[in-house]
Symmetry: C2
């Protein structure tokens, strides 16, 4: 096959996938080529624009490091991450809603005992976080792992603060036998996603601000349950309606209370005045992986 | 705006481009999001597949170096480069057809006088290349720059052969006052595109071979003419009908002749036996950039 033109090249490329060993990879490859070619036929990029696109993708890849994932940022800022999230999480009644992972998750975060202060001495208003992890029928889930991470009072994550970062404001906890978890930290601020790379340039070119409303990340898992990836957003934030990554859901917003010195609503002792953030998470039962198993 | 679902998120993202300063960037951003979201809705990637996609793009960017452009390879292997080429080159009657740039072009290649041997001493069957550069009305174009580059007898380009490459089998020539050019080198072989990176993994997963038929690259320019990016393919190659980057056009295939010692058909003296490759290029007149000027 030779002499392809603007119309015939798409079928020619699709024909090359005839011998793909995996039907799933064949399907993804075919859809990718159809949509990518349709995009090109619609915008009709000049050679220079195509070169700019190649350069943009190259710089996006080269901005990635063990503590910075610029392609996740790009997916987030184009709404693809939340779309994939929506596709994968048609949730049962009562389960906690999901949102984006974001680019700052670190595998195997430091383990802390319940009640620990995970702020690593970072300055900011004291925060006490408490809640529970339960099944949709209300049964507490004991021993669930609760990964939590958040920005500091200036809006920076630990991994952004130095080249050899200490992991602060980041922890793995385990729920107690009543499915409860609690810890101390500092109140996070809203912040711009890292704007010193290709994604920041894209947002500027699109006339968009780079801000995310203040939030605390959670990834929560337990045997026989779907792992939950979500945030809890702080009520009153000016960016709740224009989150640059489209992640806000009303059910994930909570107001900050005030607590201490004394006992919290969930029965934990607090020895100083702190803002109080409470969220009761509900995990969906694990899905059977029938479709592509 | 909050609480986006699989259907509503696309409009929400498009609405964010309302203040884009450049109408062209607004149009490209809107089309990108529509097609990208349609792709995701069609293939319904699992979270793990989305992570694989992020990882693939990241590794593709990180494979790029001053002498390796993995995103161009990806664009080539998905037929996007030839599609963009087709979109941009509806050519006037008689002009030489175009094909992909490929990932091995080097800016400002070494200048050589007409007739020079550009092989840098690389081993292989001697090749004598000659031709002309003319306008569509047949007028010779004197002083056109002719960049040419090709693989060696094993199918490797100079920039693949060492970490600090010498630039061989690569030259910038200038046509003489009759629009002629000629040089000596070695006969290139067919070759696999670099298969040790993400694009190679993709081709394997798609059940495709990585080969390109043997060819010599040309980029030719002159004031008042469109710069021509093309190859001349060697007739008889086993991969002419399955070029991994879809670049072959019948009008760009030429058989190798035999010449020397003696005078070539174009009147040049050759002091040894060599394969002879002849191509007469025709440049299209420069387009007026009316659309987005």
């Amino acid at each position: 096959m030779r002499n392809f033109n603007e119309e015939t090249i798409t079928e020619a490329v699709l024909a090359r996938f005839a011998d793909a060993p995996s039907p799933r990879i064949k399907l993804i490859s075919e859809a990718l080529v159809r949509h990518l070619h349709a995009f090109a036929r619609e915008v009709r990029p000049s050679q220079t624009e195509w070169e700019s696109g190649i350069d943009f993708l190259t710089r996006t890849g080269q901005m990635c490091s063990p503590t910075r994932q610029e392609f996740i940022l790009l997916s987030d800022a184009l709404g693809v991450s939340m779309l994939v999230d929506a596709i994968n999480h048609p949730l049962p009644m009562g389960a906690t809603e999901t949102t984006v992972l974001g680019p700052f998750y670190v595998d195997d975060p430091p383990e802390f005992p319940l009640g620990a202060n995970i702020s690593g001495g970072k300055e900011g208003k004291a925060l006490f976080v408490e809640g529970t992890v339960k099944a949709t029928d209300g049964t507490p889930i004991a021993g669930a792992w609760v990964d939590t991470w958040h920005a500091d009072a200036e809006g920076y994550y630990d991994v952004q603060l130095s080249d050899v970062p200490e992991l602060d404001m980041r922890a793995r906890l385990r729920t107690d036998d009543q499915g409860r978890f609690w810890y101390k930290s500092i109140v996070p601020a809203y912040y711009p996603i890292p704007a010193d790379g290709p994604v920041g340039q894209m947002l500027a070119a699109q006339g968009r601000h780079p801000y995310r409303p203040a939030h605390v990340h959670f990834m929560i898992g337990a045997p026989h349950f779907e792992t939950l990836i979500t945030h809890v957003f702080l009520d009153g934030d000016p960016y709740l309606d224009s989150d640059v990554v489209f992640g806000v859901k009303d059910s994930l917003i909570r107001g900050l209370g005030e607590v201490g010195p004394g006992t919290t609503p969930e029965g934990h002792e607090v020895d100083e005045t702190a803002s109080l953030l409470t969220y009761h998470f509900v995990l969906a039962p694990e899905k059977h992986l029938a479709r592509y198993a």
